[in-house]
């Protein structure tokens, strides 16, 4: 089933590669520099209509009513959609890999949980009319108390964001994703000193220059073609089919040229409603995010908060590492339950530490949902742990290069998630960076290798 990787192709064994390893031009880039590359907003069809969303202006509220009467009077108004129009009004994009429970609605039913949550969409013949009609839809909302801080959200008196009653994702009965290797609390007790830090990231917007969008076009044979700038064609198609309760083969998703992704175009956020409206109206529907929606409605990187506690001996050995991460998922799961698991695997860093304990809390707050972004789950680990390594080095008076090289994982080492390390090359990478930066490492550090588990220079 799987390919033999690196099987020598071309002329035979031992010869250099002909094509791989060389810089080749990007043929499609000729279209980029001449303006002829087609992005989804460049696609247009006769009788095409425009969709815009009606969004919650408050972070937490009960939805008591939606009134389209003024919106319907806007010239060019075609239709409006609410929760009742969505065949399966559940937007659980990770259901494809078995993640439960269902929670987010495609269009809000009786509650909204973040500023910007879509409650309805309008479809009009021009974009101006759609903006006007969306603004004229009247909402009857009853505000509820909201919670914004991840640790406050876990307190017993916090307003509950989710429908299942806890502000955290339940991982097989646990309130967090766990990694337990060795006995970190006991090792910490035995250690000469304890060094701790608190590290906080900020929510980051992907900010691609091309906004998220799609065009859904009904075809004469009953299928729908969706031009989309998604990063994942089949992932988006399958989720759309589930939401619309239609056979997946009825949909054709076309794309492949994305004006910047960075993880922000895997939320399948525009295709289901545009396709639904296309099916309902029989007309092509364009639904493209405004820049304001990109900035404040579309998902962000999670503003994770990490607490790292290391048990350290005076000889410079880190004997235990405990990491507690609060991952701010915002109001809904999106990719966060998965991202927290990925983070848990990387939360102790590319270092061999004999006792590791990781708790990753996937926390819900009344904030814009966070989701995948370049480095998902690892960016925050790298940030926190590399600052922590410097903190340890500083407190011990150990050279920061030496601390890292001594603890860098070697091939054959156990990872905290109990996988045997292979493809470790951190030692060589650190050595190369030192040389590039003009830093002279000691002979002992220069002699280290990822394949030499013994040569770690740790005092016996």
């Amino acid at each position: 089933m799987s390919a033999e990787p690196g099987r020598r192709a071309g002329g035979g064994n031992g010869k250099p590669f002909d094509v791989v390893g060389r810089t080749h031009e990007r043929r499609e880039a000729r279209g980029h520099v001449t303006g002829s590359t087609v992005y989804i907003d460049d696609v247009s069809y006769p009788r095409m209509c425009h969709m815009k969303a009606v969004r919650s202006p408050v972070p937490h509220a009960r939805v008591n009513g939606i009134d389209f009467s003024e919106a319907e009077k806007v010239p060019g108004y075609v239709t409006g959609l609410t929760a009742d129009d969505v065949p399966k009004n559940v937007y659980t994009i990770l259901c494809l890999i078995g993640v439960e429970p269902d929670e987010e609605n495609v269009l809000a039913e009786e509650r909204v949980r973040y500023v910007g949550e879509p409650i309805a969409v309008v479809v009009c013949e021009t974009e101006e009319a759609a903006f006007e009609a969306a603004a004229k839809v009247k909402l009857d909302l009853e505000e509820l108390p909201a919670v914004f801080d991840v640790e406050e959200a876990l307190e017993s008196d916090a307003p509950i964001v989710t429908h299942w009653g806890t502000n955290y994702f339940v991982y097989e009965g646990h309130h967090c994703r766990r990694v337990r290797y060795g006995d970190a609390p006991a090792a910490r007790e035995q250690a000469d000193r304890v060094i701790s830090g608190r590290y906080q990231l900020s929510p980051i917007e992907h900010a691609p220059v091309e906004p998220t969008g799609c065009i859904a076009k009904p075809e004469a044979d009953g299928r729908v073609t969706v031009h989309t700038n998604t990063q994942a064609i089949f992932f988006s198609l399958d989720n759309t089919a589930i939401i619309l309760q239609c056979p997946p083969h009825k949909l054709r998703f076309v794309g492949g040229t994305v004006g910047g992704g960075f993880g922000g175009k895997v939320d399948v956020i525009v295709e289901p409603l545009a396709t639904l409206a296309a099916m309902k109206t029989g007309r092509p529907i364009k639904y493209v995010y405004t820049r304001e929606e990109e900035m404040q409605v579309s998902s962000t990187r999670s503003a994770s908060r990490l607490y790292v506690t290391d048990g350290v001996n005076d000889d410079g050995t880190i004997v235990s590492r405990e990491v507690t991460t609060y991952h701010d998922a915002g109001a809904y799961s999106r990719h966060s339950p998965y991202g927290c698991t990925k983070h848990a695997a990387n939360a102790a860093g590319p270092y061999t530490i004999p006792n590791v304990s990781v708790d990753v809390h996937c926390v819900y707050t009344n904030r814009t949902p966070s989701s995948a972004m370049r480095g998902f789950g690892v960016t925050e680990a790298s940030f926190a742990l590399e600052m922590q390594m410097d903190r340890v080095a500083r407190e011990l008076g150990v050279d920061p290069w030496e601390l890292r090289l001594r603890h860098a994982y070697r091939n054959g080492d156990d990872r905290p998630y109990r996988k045997t390390t292979e493809d470790a090359t951190l030692v060589e990478t650190i050595q190369a960076a030192a040389e590039l930066a003009g830093v002279e490492l000691s002979a002992e550090l220069r002699a280290m290798s990822s394949d030499d588990r013994a040569g770690k220079g740790v005092a016996g």
Binding site: A345, M387, R418, V439
Partner: protein, 340 residues
């Protein structure tokens, strides 16, 4: 006014592939009647150059010139399944699928060539320039074009291949976190040099010098593109960007590029990088995914450099002038302080 200099380092890993696997990708390859090759995918190019890299992998495996290989992608009607472009997975999964498909197509190509040349397929090799020749007898050769024509119209054979790569999905053991999260690990180490103006709190990144270990650089210029673009984005994360300047409060969130701060040309540091290639056990031609890692190592390197400069750790991003000034005030008022 004092300008303080500092240097900081960060060493990181980055896993290739969707955590825990179960993220397959497929490729189909077929020859046109005149011996050009179409690689059919459903993968997306975000600007990283996927189409070019996939064509290179296909051309190398088939043994044909790059100019004769074309990539047709992202139509769910014609392309086989691909999970998508994220998690630094595309070149690894799709590349491996292409190698499998290309090997099958290559075998068919050599089979037909063998018939045409009256030789054994195992005695033949593509020359990488558009012909198939008998090893050791370069005058006994036939063009790929002629082989394809013969296959299509004389032998009634297809020259095509199918490929799929999937790391099987593994589950997490809930109690211990035992899992198999990734296919391979790439690594990076960045050294940042900064200047901190103690009067304004502004941080200038002077240089970012990094080593990136990527398994195999299939297309060096495209790897460099990720390095340069990633370094800028990492610096942007460290010092400028946020959708919630008063996080966790939701007020004053930026709604346009004027308020969502990102560095411009005057803020660019000197960026130098060394690319290391230590082939992975399972990547196509040993490659490892690089697109995300390049934005990760600069962030803590810059934060550590600021600490080196001012003697205080600022552990909350972005490290704005306001945070620097508050840290300096705390440092001077309260001795060695941590701002977090």
């Amino acid at each position: 006014m004092t300008v303080l200099r500092g240097r900081g380092i960060a060493a990181v890993n980055y896993p290739t592939g969707m955590n825990l696997g179960g993220d397959p990708s497929q490729a189909l390859i077929h020859s046109t009647p005149t011996g050009a090759f179409m690689i059919v995918l459903s993968s997306t190019d975000l600007g990283q150059g996927l189409r070019t890299v996939m064509a290179q992998i296909g051309a190398e495996t088939l043994g044909v010139p790059m100019e004769t290989v074309h990539v047709d992608t992202a139509d769910s009607d014609t392309g086989p399944h691909c999970m998508g472009t994220f998690a630094s997975r595309a070149t690894h999964r799709v590349g491996n699928a292409i190698i499998e498909a290309a090997n099958e197509a290559r075998d068919a190509l050599l089979d037909v060539a063998a018939d045409e040349l009256e030789a054994a397929p195992e005695d033949l090799e593509p020359d990488g320039e558009g012909s198939i020749r008998v090893v050791g007898s370069p005058d006994r050769s036939i063009s790929v074009t002629d082989v394809a024509l013969a296959a299509h119209f004389k032998h009634g054979r297809t020259i095509s291949g199918r490929g799929m790569y999937m790391k099987p999905k593994s589950d997490v053991v809930p109690e211990t976190g035992e899992m198999d999260p990734d296919s391979t690990e790439a690594h990076a180490c960045t050294v940042a040099e900064v200047e901190v103006d103690t009067e304004t709190g502004r941080v200038r990144v002077l240089s970012l010098r990094s080593a990136y270990e990527v398994g195999r650089a299939i297309n060096p210029a495209l790897v460099q593109g990720q390095i340069t673009g990633g370094a800028w984005m990492g610096m942007s994360h460290a010092l400028y960007e946020t959708t919630a300047p008063y996080y966790p409060a939701i007020d004053h969130g930026p709604t346009d590029f004027n308020h969502y701060l990102m560095p411009g040309a005057p803020e660019l540091p000197e960026i130098s990088a060394e690319i290391l290639e230590i082939p992975s056990v399972n990547g196509p031609f040993g490659m490892k995914g690089v697109g995300e890692m390049t934005a990760n190592s600069p962030i803590p390197a810059i934060a550590n450099a600021i600490t080196d400069a001012i003697g205080v750790q600022i552990t909350e991003l972005p490290i704005t002038p306001e945070k620097v000034l508050r840290a300096l005030a705390e440092r001077d008022g309260a001795g060695d302080a941590h701002v977090s």
